[in-house]
């Protein structure tokens, strides 16, 4: 599984639409197998979505994101977890340990953000459980279309 985070000064970029760089980390189970940081430059919106797909990203964890960009990225089959804030490494760690829903990682106005972008077909803006989540409560399986399978 490859997870991407738009990155700025070691933290998640506040605005995905304007983010200059992206960090992509690949995991095999719980082990990190590769890590790459790339420039997103001045790419126009559909190209940003395409760039992430070309990187083989499965999950994008980002801060603020506009509705058109979220739609385009989700249409590439990438699960988007938006409106997250904090240091990139802590976010990766929290995702893998299924702790990303902690209030400290939520951008201000998080509830409204989710309501605003979670309608319609709901594609791409549901949270997928992290690869480190193996015990505890029964987890929900959510596919790339945001559909709850079990």
């Amino acid at each position: 599984m490859k997870i991407a985070i738009p990155i700025w000064q070691g933290r998640i970029s506040p605005v995905m639409d304007a983010a200059a760089r992206v960090l992509a980390v690949e995991y095999d189970g719980t082990c990190e197998v590769s890590r790459i940081e790339e420039s997103l430059g001045d790419e126009f919106i559909p190209q940003r979505a395409r760039h992430l797909a070309d990187l083989g990203v499965n999950v994008l964890i980002c801060g603020g994101i506009s509705q058109p960009l979220l739609t385009l990225i989700a249409a590439q089959g990438i699960t988007v977890i938006p409106w997250i804030t904090g240091p990139a490494e802590q976010i990766l760690e929290a995702y893998r340990n299924n702790r990303l829903s902690h209030p400290k990682f939520m951008m201000p106005g998080y509830g409204r953000c989710r309501r605003g972008q979670g309608r319609g077909y709901g594609q791409g803006c549901r949270q997928r459980m992290g690869p480190g989540h193996r015990q505890g409560r029964k987890r929900k399986e959510i596919n790339q279309d945001g559909e709850i399978l079990s």
Binding site: P14, P46, I65, P108, R112
Partner: protein, 451 residues
């Protein structure tokens, strides 16, 4: 001044105001700021300003940072912020230093003004909508989005085909906006709207004395587009004589204004569009084949709205938000019945028709949710005959069923093709077919040698 009095003053002004300390934490957030960002004061205070304000320039050119470093105020810079609904809100910002009574800098203050209405009106006046206005999750549109950057950066002539109202001009503008010519003009010529003689003088310009009323030189649209892009809309409507003249421009990049003796070289990229089947016109002898092959270097086909019905909810949301700004209303959306009727409609007028329906509803709907009675009479009457089930739909599940059945029918019941069109995985579609109990015909697209 007491804090309470200061807060009352700040809350009474229409501009958003917030202050930060030296660690970029929000220390004050007024009512207008709450409204524009969609974030409450309680949520904002103590948080990093970039997490609250979410401006396009936070990473690269933070205005407050510049002010704190240079001590100079910044006035009326236009940027956009992301509100809590994920909408880009254009704002004009100004910044200043915040000092205590001893003149020690304790932070910064930023004021911002919502430019949404002004920008929207400007767009309406100029008809200048951007690529961000094209919203789609349809797989054919996604493919277009994917190839568009490559097309934009190439110098090739582009032919955009699609029915009226599918957004051909938006795509033409996107080709220009993302090309190396973006800083130069983008000139639109509607070939179908002008008689031949007028089109000739409009396109090529004329010299003084070329005809009776030609008192002075007039540059043509080709000259105005120099260095940029000329968009020739409805190219299929031009006369055979005009086709010859245009062919020369495309072949040699040269032309002569009416009455001129010298030949002018044009450095212009040509993007054309038509709602007609040009290849058929060529076969019928109504369009020159040499011109057709000149303009058909890169061809883009925009699918009609009836082939991308999954985009209707997104488009409706977009139009509702736009008309709310334009008409100063606060309409939250459309009812499920309205959405179902829209989903069942074939939209011969495509997105423009949908836009007109929503605009009509905005005139009649005072607030709240757009209901069936707010739709155009003709449309509402037709709504009953389009599909009885559609009008009586009461759940999202039923709407989903309509979308899926429509997509399956369009794809000759080929499930893989339908899943692609809907932008979902095939197994998701299979599950939905099962869950929604959609009956499939015994023979389908797979059996007839489909995908």
């Amino acid at each position: 001044m007491p804090k309470a009095a200061r807060d009352i003053i700040l809350d009474s002004i229409a501009d958003g105001v917030f202050t930060v300390d030296r660690e970029w934490k929000i220390t004050m957030f007024n009512k207008a700021a709450e409204k524009m960002t969609g974030i409450s004061r309680e949520d904002a205070i103590g948080r990093r300003c970039c997490d609250v304000f979410r401006a396009s320039i936070c990473e690269t050119e933070c205005a407050l940072n510049q002010t704190l470093q240079t001590g100079k105020s910044l006035i009326n810079r236009e940027i956009y912020i992301l509100n809590a609904e994920g909408q880009r809100v254009p704002v004009s910002i100004s910044t200043a230093l915040l000092q205590d009574e001893n003149g020690v800098v304790i932070g910064g203050v930023e004021t911002f003004r919502d430019l949404s209405v002004i920008k929207q009106l400007r767009k309406e006046l100029k008809g200048h909508f951007s690529f961000a206005d094209i919203i789609s999750r349809n797989h054919k549109m996604q493919e277009l989005f994917n190839i568009l950057p490559g097309i934009a950066t190439s110098p090739s002539t582009v032919l955009i085909e699609g029915e009226s109202g599918t957004g051909k001009e938006l795509f033409a503008r996107a080709v220009h906006d993302y090309s190396p010519r973006k800083s130069k003009p983008f000139i639109v010529v509607n070939c179908g709207a002008l008689p031949d003689t007028l089109l000739e003088s409009e396109l090529f310009g004329y010299r003084a004395g070329a005809f009776t009323d030609a008192k002075k030189d007039k540059p043509g649209r080709l000259a105005l587009a120099e260095g940029g892009t000329i968009f020739l809309d409805e190219i299929g409507d031009i006369s055979p004589a005009m086709q010859v003249r245009l062919l020369r421009v495309l072949q040699d990049r040269t032309y002569e204004p009416l009455g001129a003796t010298e030949t002018i070289t044009a450095d212009v990229r040509v993007v054309t569009a038509t709602n007609k089947d040009l290849s058929q016109l060529v076969k019928d002898g109504k369009f020159r084949s040499d011109l057709y092959y000149r303009i058909n270097v890169v061809r883009l086909y925009l699918p009609p709205l009836r082939e991308r019905k999954e985009d209707i909810p997104l488009l409706v949301e977009n139009f509702v938000s736009r008309f709310n700004r334009l008409m100063s209303k606060n309409i939250s959306g459309v009812s499920q019945q309205v959405m179902a009727v829209l989903a069942a409609h074939d939209f011969p007028g495509n997105i423009r028709e949908l836009e007109n329906i929503i605009e009509h509803a905005f005139v009649l709907c005072p607030g709240g949710v757009i209901e069936l009675r707010h739709l155009p009479d003709m449309f509402a009457k037709a709504g009953g005959t389009i599909t009885e089930t559609a009008a009586s739909v009461t759940s999202l599940e039923q709407m989903e069923r309509i979308f899926i059945v429509d997509a399956l029918k369009r794809n000759n019941w080929n499930r893989l093709a339908a899943a692609r069109e809907l932008g979902i995985h095939k197994s998701t579609l299979f599950r939905k077919i099962k869950r929604l109990v959609i009956e499939l015909p015994p023979q389908d697209g797979r059996m007839s040698g489909g995908v």
